[in-house]
Amino acid sequence: MSAFRVFSRLPHSNATFIQTPLVINLSLQCSRCIKTSTHRLKESPNKDYAVSQVYVNRNPRNLEKLALARKRLGWRFQSPRKDYYHKLVFSHTQKHTEAWIEHFTGEVVLIASTKEWAIKDQLYSANDVSASSNIGKILAQRCLESGLTSVFFDEAGVNKQAPRVATFLEQFKNANISLTEPKMVTPQFRPGIDYDNYNRYAEPKEWQEDYQKV
């Protein structure tokens, strides 16, 4: 859940720009609104439709896509790393080749494996280089079909030059899927507390569902 606030907007007539009065609050975003003629609005089917001042996007993946969601930070030199939303994992055993996308909550959301007969049927071996390449191709396709255009691949302890890994990653490159996730967006530091509105001064250290409270 994430809340978005309506821009505070000032109307202006067609030609002249109304000078906005100087405001003390410099961080307020004041921008002008494109004029919408009033006579049309009178007959509009949505003339009394009240857009909510606070919009809540219920899409649980939205903030991760915008890189606004909080990432787990982990320790500085921790391996395996923890700072990701979706992680790409590649594994091959003596019998099978598998790759999957893991969400940071531990959920495996997408998987492609030679254990699926749909894939194994067309392969010669389930653990050779062409199996890795094909698993990469299929998982990359499934990622694109599920809207995952950037996933995190932990290179620690992986030999990227090894033929199986190299051909597997090559397929992700071909599908235009980034193997690094965007950096988490954090607000610019500004000192001070807004005592007039909701602030988190000396609040009890307890996990909350919503820290925005607008």
Partner: protein, 410 residues
């Protein structure tokens, strides 16, 4: 030591006799005292877990399967018969595999996948995107019928709707083509809705398209309950989900209560709840297929709001949650006093200070002066104590609150 003991025994004579222990009393002023363990009995892990679960409950219908019967496929990859068959079949592929030129046919993989593990995989990714949580209050179903939805891109190409792929809003203006492989005598209902698109009430959906009583897979013969309205993700809110759900009907259903007037453009009329709809018709309807996509604001949405919906276009910005501040200390240890005190000032005071500083510099008769490339090249003209000198450097660099000094417009 002995002197101390006598002093102590004088006061706590009775208690010492009861405990029958010898106390080692140290002649130290700030003596560490063991904490009173009886007063702070912490809850056990099980108790804390129970409290957490009571507080953060899953949706009420979580874990209920409302879909068609699906047993899962026998994915036994160790099936000897199947492996033997495969060993025979794979022989001609050896050279290709050896030369790393073996490429699987993606269309065939997709087809086989539809017959095999597709319902499991799609259910998983739908759950990941919160489709079941927001549409059916957590009740899930296995989408056993593959639902192919595609928007025309141009005369040759189409943009398919899969399981959360991103489609630009400008490509979704015309209604998509829908196909699903079913028997001709069966009846189906197709609903397209957006769980994020309702701008008035975020707990409801917006109905984009509704076709009921579809005989077989011919959408044109179905009863149009609500005409197609293109997705309109508002500006500044990111990606919205648009979900197509295919229901299997047991008999012809009367949808007259939710029938919308022809070419309905009123967003309030299109407010919709899949859960209420399903609860009302659950005797006749069973969800059987799902596909969804995500879309983001682009320029075409502005004209759509102005010319089709005929309303002002809303725009939003994300609000970061406010920073956490611990309780202010009277004597903070080893913290620079100016930085510490600034953190606890009212933002209005800080902004006023910045504005006054800005107004000193601004001249309405002259154009704004460009910022120097190396603002801290020169030292401050007069002597300043180090904390003020550092502050002057911050001001020149435009760090933290001072970045407002160099913004031309707000």
């Amino acid at each position: 030591m002995a002197a101390c003991m006598t002093f102590k025994s004088k006061i706590f004579n009775g208690s010492l006799a009861k405990a029958s222990k010898t106390f080692l009393v140290q002649p130290v002023r700030n003596r560490w005292k063991p904490p009173d363990r009886d007063l702070e009995i912490l809850p056990s892990f099980a108790e804390r877990l129970a409290a957490w679960k009571a507080k953060y409950q899953l949706p009420a219908s979580h874990g209920i399967n409302i879909g068609l019967k699906y047993d899962g496929v026998n994915q036994n990859h160790n099936n000897i018969e199947r492996i033997k068959k495969w060993m025979e079949k794979r022989k001609p592929l050896e050279t290709l595999a050896h030369n790393r030129q073996l490429n699987v046919d993606m269309e065939r993989v997709k087809e086989d996948w539809h017959n095999e593990s597709m319902p499991q995989h799609v259910r998983k990714i739908s759950e990941h995107y919160g489709i079941f949580k927001d549409l059916f209050d957590g009740a899930h179903f296995f989408p056993v019928i593959p639902l192919d939805v595609a928007y025309d891109y141009d005369e040759e190409l189409v943009t398919p709707v899969r399981y959360g792929n991103i489609i630009p809003a400008c490509e979704t203006s015309a209604k998509p083509s829908v196909s699903f492989k079913v028997a001709d005598d069966s009846l189906w209902t197709l609903v397209m809705s957006s769980p994020d698109g309702n701008l008035e009430d975020s707990s409801k959906e917006i109905l984009h398209w509704f076709v009921g009583n579809i005989p077989g897979n011919d959408l044109n013969k179905g009863e149009l309950i609500c005409n197609y309205l293109q997705p309109f993700p508002p500006k500044g809110v990111g990606f919205l989900r648009y979900v197509f759900v295919l229901y299997k009907q047991d008999r012809i259903v009367d949808f007259s209560s939710i029938k919308k007037p022809e070419n309905c453009l009123s967003l309030r009329d299109r407010s919709f709840s899949s859960l209420d709809f399903y609860r009302k018709h659950q005797a006749d309807l069973t969800p059987a297929g799902v596909s969804f996509f995500q879309s983001e604001w682009d320029k075409s949405i502005t004209s759509f709001f102005h010319h089709v919906l005929d309303m002002k276009e809303p725009a939003f910005e994300f609000i970061h949650p406010p920073a956490y501040h611990p309780e202010q200390l009277d004597y903070p240890h080893r913290l620079p006093f100016n930085v510490y005190l600034d953190n606890y000032r009212h933002v209005k005071d800080i902004q006023e200070e910045v504005l006054k500083r800005k107004l000193k510099k601004v001249d309405p008769m002259r154009p704004p002066q460009p910022r120097p490339k190396y603002p801290n090249l020169d030292k401050p003209p007069e002597y300043l104590p180090s904390w003020l000198e550092v502050r002057e450097q911050e001001v020149r660099l435009g760090n933290a609150q001072w970045s407002d000094l160099y913004k031309d417009k707000d």
